[in-house]
């Protein structure tokens, strides 16, 4: 089933993904899943990231203390707590990274609207929430790996965006005509 046409499409596969949904989709999903509308600005609000990082720091400190005090009483429970703590530590670390990088980007482009970057980022966010829920109900190594991967991908996205901004590509991207031809 190979022909030149198929080859052409496959070698340009990424260029076929050029459409992005409007922000209302994510808003509706969020409203439907969490029962209350918070809007796009929520995602772009750096205070929320700071708060999230703070919450995770407090949470992991609490878990650490709890684990430490319970370590001699119940070895099975402590193993579980250790696994959870390990994940929480990782999560806290990445959240700090994400928070820091998001702030940097935010400083660069305050007036920026919805673009390829925020779209991808929000999609990852949505997936993360879904995974997080799964972790709550059915914790497993696979879900944990998926969560960590999600965080890493987000950090990678942020790094790419930062590089772009540092290289001065941002100005070019902000031009709607050039942006349309660049976005794939």
């Amino acid at each position: 089933m190979k022909d030149q046409f198929e080859e052409f499409v496959r070698s340009n596969r990424n260029a076929f993904d050029d459409k992005e949904p409007t922000g209302k989709v994510w808003k509706n999903i969020e409203t439907s899943v969490f029962g209350k509308a918070r809007g796009i600005s929520f995602w772009q609000n750096i205070t929320i990231w700071r708060a999230a990082a703070a919450v995770f720091m407090v949470l992991s400190a609490y878990l650490f203390i709890e684990k430490y005090s319970a370590v001699n009483t119940d070895s099975v429970a402590s193993a579980n707590t250790a696994a959870l703590k390990e994940f929480t530590d990782i999560e806290q670390f990445y959240f700090e990274q994400i928070s820091h990088k998001t702030q940097l980007i935010d400083d660069f482009q305050r007036a920026e609207g919805l673009n390829g970057f925020t779209h991808d980022f929000k999609q990852l966010e949505a997936m993360y929430m879904v995974l997080k829920e799964e972790m709550k109900h059915h914790p497993s190594q696979k879900v944990k790996d998926a969560l960590v991967l999600n965080l890493l991908v987000r950090i990678d996205l942020l790094n790419q965006q930062l590089h772009k901004l540092e290289d001065g590509d941002y100005k070019e991207e902000a031009d709607p005509k050039k942006k349309a031809s660049k976005e794939v």
């Binding site: 030149q4 076929f16 989709v25």
Partner: protein, 147 residues
């Protein structure tokens, strides 16, 4: 995910609806995800199914009918290959009838095989193959007209 849905439904609004339904449904049916596929694959399959459902709801007779015959594969693709661009191909795909577009997108762009497509669309494998050949034929037609 949005592009997957857009290619199947052929409409921006329908694609948004399907994406929304799919993400909400995924969230509510997390217990059905048992790790036998990648999470992305699982989610994509939900998006595909929602998009197909929406397409079927909106346009009843648009999906391929069961046909147990096959077309000879046409491999003469050299004539229209010159000047081929992603934009032209993308536009041509959008012009395809719904059924052809669904099969072609699922096969060529989403990487499903004919067995998977037959399950998704509820058609036979041979129908899936013949629809793909016809879709490619149509594309060839559109593309050679434009060049």
């Amino acid at each position: 995910m949005f592009n997957v849905s857009y290619r199947i439904t052929g409409s921006f609004d329908d694609a948004e609806d399907a994406l929304q339904e799919a993400f909400i449904s995924a969230f509510r049916n997390l217990e059905s995800y048992r790790g036998d596929a990648t999470f992305g694959g699982w989610l994509k399959r939900i998006v595909v199914n929602k998009s197909i459902n929406l397409l079927q709801r909106r346009k009843h007779e648009s999906l391929p009918e069961n046909e147990d015959w096959d077309l000879a594969e046409d491999t003469d693709s050299t004539t229209y290959m010159d000047g081929l661009s992603v934009e032209k191909v993308r536009d041509a795909i959008q012009q395809l009838p719904d059924g052809y577009r669904a099969v072609l997108s699922l096969y060529l762009l989403e990487g499903y095989d004919h067995q998977e497509i037959s399950e998704i669309l509820g058609i036979s494998e041979s129908t899936s193959k013949s629809q793909l050949n016809r879709a490619k034929g149509k594309l060839r037609e559109y593309l050679s007209k434009k060049i």
